[in-house]
């Protein structure tokens, strides 16, 4: 039996960021992770630090995303210091491309709705036209159908694989224990302690944090937590390395710091099937070439399916168990965007009970209310 102050179940970007933050608060932290071939949203995601589409219906979540984005420059610098890994954070704003007038009108409507919802609080997304879009990359040829884009100054991107490696490295160097091949079978709560059972041994701690992605709904009920999430597949395409072409962050076409171009924006309800399908990858390729015709000659080297973790209202769930105090669940589709705030405010909430204003809105109890109504 190994003991710790906190056991974090799940070593993806969400669990690693929270675990890193808890270790930074001086706690003795163990992160338990699974093996090589499990569903891992953190290995397949897009790498956006993104706010402009977040928080429909839950404005506190929009603010929360913007607050995390604001923490990112310092967070990236800190990770560099403790891991020697530059996660290639790029701020300065990001655009969502708009092809044709229908997309433009829909986006205008969305922005208008969000502004109403914000009611004076933060929402800084605006429409820019072709000429303004061209200013981001004067040499880039824009597709004829591109009518413009929506722009948010809070948005940016990061290399998500380097982010995960940096979190694991920094956590390790600061004295955390990251243990793989430890699938959690069950969790007991006795007295003030939790015991987490794995086939490779048991772990005990006063606090346990479920950051297990799609594994959380199985584990939650063991400690009195409801985790209403569902899978949604996104297919992602990635190209060979190219010289810098897109020197700014975009929502569905993103050039990584290595030079590869990542494409994707599909949404499919296919359960946990993380495969790909030609009809979808072709659509994604077609849209990319319509946006930027010069991409036509660039070679695709890999595609994959990634299973998003969606809550009913798309906002994050941060909750502590009412029946088993000391058990927490933290989950969201937006692990990359929220990594900075997870390592900061969320870790302090779990470590010391400090709650940011309006934080209680992220409790999963909001769904009980909706279900009752």
């Amino acid at each position: 039996m190994q003991s710790a102050d906190v056991i974090v179940v799940g070593g993806g970007i969400f669990g690693s960021a929270v675990g890193y933050g808890l270790r930074r608060e001086g706690l003795n932290v163990v992160i338990l992770d699974e093996g090589d071939n499990v569903l891992r949203a953190s290995r397949g995601n897009f790498g956006l630090v993104w706010t402009q589409s977040k928080g429909v219906g839950v404005h506190r979540y929009h603010e929360w995303s913007c607050e995390s984005a604001a923490l990112y420059p310092d967070f990236a610098a800190e990770l560099l210091e403790y891991s020697d890994i530059d996660v290639a954070y790029r701020g300065g704003g990001g655009v969502e491309l708009l092809l044709g007038d229908d997309e433009l009108e829909a986006r205008k409507q969305f922005i208008s709705n969000m502004q109403k919802q914000a009611a004076g609080s933060i929402f800084d997304c605006e429409i820019i036209d072709r000429q303004e879009l061209q200013k981001f990359a004067p040499d880039l040829t824009l597709g004829e159908e591109l009518v413009g884009a929506s722009f948010s100054p809070h948005d940016g991107d990061v290399n998500p694989l380097l982010l995960l490696r940096a979190l694991h490295t920094a956590f390790d160097r600061r004295g955390g224990r990251y243990l793989t091949n430890r699938r959690v079978d069950s969790i007991d709560h006795r007295g003030s302690d939790f015991t987490v059972h794995t086939a490779q041994g048991d772990f005990t701690a006063a606090k346990v944090v479920l950051a297990a992605g799609h594994g959380a709904p199985r584990l939650g009920p063991m400690v009195g937590l409801n985790v209403p999430i569902r899978p949604q597949r996104g297919q992602v395409l990635i190209t060979e390395r190219a010289r810098p072409l897109f020197p700014f962050a975009m929502g569905s076409i993103r050039q990584t710091n290595e030079g590869t171009v990542q494409l994707g924006n599909s949404k499919e309800e296919v359960g946990y099937d993380d495969g790909t399908s030609l009809d979808v990858t072709r659509k994604i390729a077609t849209r990319a070439v319509r946006c930027f015709p010069q991409l036509a000659g660039v070679r695709l080297v890999r595609t994959w399916g990634c299973i998003r973790i969606l809550t009913p209202d798309m906002a994050a769930i941060y909750d502590e168990s009412a029946t088993c105090p000391g058990a927490y669940v933290v989950t969201s589709h937006s692990g990359v965007t929220l990594a900075a705030i997870n390592a900061a405010h969320v870790a302090r909430w779990i470590a010391h009970g400090e709650m940011q204003p309006g934080f209680e809105q992220f409790s999963a109890q909001r769904f009980d209310v909706q279900a009752a109504a």
Partner: protein, 463 residues
């Protein structure tokens, strides 16, 4: 594409050609897609042109190579839809094959699919193996077969396996200056081989040939050092020589060209992309698809024949192709099960003969552990993304338990070759570091496209 062929065959090496000829003879409509410009695969590469010309090259390449000419003629005569230069980049479990041909991507769905994509040389990750001047011994043989080209200047051949011996002999016969042959095979392997002598007795011709090749190399004055260790290619911008340990001391030999070879391994890219079941073959340390006696994979309608099903060589591959084709004809009700069994019977006998030699070869040419898991942390393992053995070990220390987490940590296997030249080495290093079997460590999850396809081709793709 409107017509749906009965059988799609990927690859026009001995297995693919033989299967195509056999299937066509039983009335199946056959489509053969091959990446090369001429049929023959790597083993019979450029066979039609070389067979047509009386030349010294024919003598150098030898009788075993020229045997491919008969099959090539049969293939040419048979009623087969053959597309040279077709690059297959995705295969779906319903036998839908997506490929690019003459710059256009398209898809064709067969009633059955036979994968006959052959083998590739095992990666030989030693220090300096990425330097200009270093190439596979098999690659040098391809140059000889396809263009009558041999390395100029001093050549050092390094490694193990029947092909290394053959290529060395051919280079010597071609008048190339082979200054040393460094065998990584260890004396212990020869002793272990004695244990499987019955198999050897069934294939005396094979052993005699091997001894004869070695004698010719020696007679030409090429020094042979057996059981070398601590190999490294010397040089900074290009290869300048090879350092190796032999006996008690380290030695250096100068070279302009270094040819590496540690045997060949099945090309499993398509079966991996399809998520077929695979098994680890311990003596030869490679993965192969799990197959039934007629070479059917775990996915209905999809079979694999030839070296992509496990390394048994060209003649076996042709036999396997015919057996697989008979089963395809049977399953499409072109012939009865009784006909299939009757026609397959002599082929199955031949198969048994080729299989008998394998335990001996496995013992003789066991890949050297030093090459499977490079000790020097600076050695490049992933040639595309330039990931070193040290980085792989760092990833394991960080917590990676398999190649997929390592890939996401370090980018190994993310380049255009899609892990073909690092997958085995990465898994071997993980297994060694964790004290596990490669069988348990696993392999990369291979995703489409298995060959690069442009976004424009995909966008214009017509399925």
């Amino acid at each position: 594409m409107s017509t749906e062929p009965d059988l799609i065959i990927i690859g026009a090496g001995p297995a693919g050609q033989a299967a195509a000829v056999e299937a066509a003879s039983h009335g199946l409509s056959v489509l053969v897609l091959d990446e090369q410009s001429q049929p023959g695969g790597q083993i019979y590469r450029n066979i039609a042109r070389n067979a047509a010309n009386e030349s010294k090259l024919r003598d150098i390449l030898g009788r075993d190579y020229m045997r491919g000419a008969a099959l090539a003629r049969e293939f040419e005569k048979a009623d087969i839809d053959y597309r040279a230069g077709a690059s297959v980049w995705q295969v779906d479990p319903n036998c839908a094959v997506s490929f690019t041909h003459n710059g256009t991507a398209s898809q064709v769905t067969g009633r059955r699919l036979l994968i006959a994509t052959g083998a590739q040389e095992r990666p030989v990750a030693i220090p300096g193996w990425t330097l200009p001047g270093v190439m596979g011994a098999g690659a040098a043989q391809v140059l000889l077969k396809s263009s009558g080209v041999v390395p100029m200047g001093r050549i050092v051949v390094v490694g193990s396996g029947p092909l290394l011996l053959l290529v060395t002999q051919q280079l010597v016969d071609a008048g190339a200056d082979v200054v040393a042959m460094l065998e990584t095979t260890r004396t212990a392997d020869y002793l272990a081989a004695a244990g499987t002598l019955p198999g050897a007795l069934r294939a005396p011709e094979y052993l005699r040939k091997g001894m004869a090749m070695r004698r010719r190399v020696k007679a030409a004055g090429v020094p042979i050092h057996s059981g070398v260790r601590g190999l490294a290619v010397l040089g900074s911008e290009t290869a300048k020589g090879v350092r190796f340990g032999h006996g008690g001391a380290m030695q250096e030999v100068e070279a302009d060209t270094v040819l590496l070879h540690e045997g060949v391994v099945p090309n499993v890219q398509i079966t991996r992309q399809l998520w077929c079941d695979h098994e680890w073959v311990e003596p030869q340390r490679y993965w192969r698809p799990v197959l039934d006696e007629y070479y059917n994979t775990s996915i209905a309608g999809i079979a694999v024949a030839g070296d992509s099903a496990g390394i048994y060589g060209a003649e076996y591959a042709a036999v396997a192709g015919r057996i697989a084709a008979l089963d395809a004809a049977c399953s499409l009700q072109k012939i009865s099960a009784a006909d299939r069994d009757r026609e397959a019977a002599p082929l199955l006998k031949q198969r048994a003969k080729y299989q008998a030699i394998r335990p001996l070869l496995d013992s003789l040419f066991r890949p050297n552990p030093e090459i499977l898991t490079p000790a020097d942390d600076d050695t490049i393992v992933c040639r595309c993304e330039e990931v070193s053995a040290g980085a792989i070990r760092e990833g394991v220390r960080l917590g990676a338990t398999g190649p997929n987490q390592l890939k996401s940590y370090m980018r190994c296997g993310m380049g255009p070759c899609q892990g073909r030249f690092c997958g085995l080495t990465v898994a071997e290093i993980i297994a060694a570091e964790r004290g596990e079997s490669v069988r348990d460590v696993g392999y990369y999850r291979i995703r489409p496209p298995i060959k690069p396809v442009t976004l424009g081709e995909l966008a214009a793709f017509d399925d």
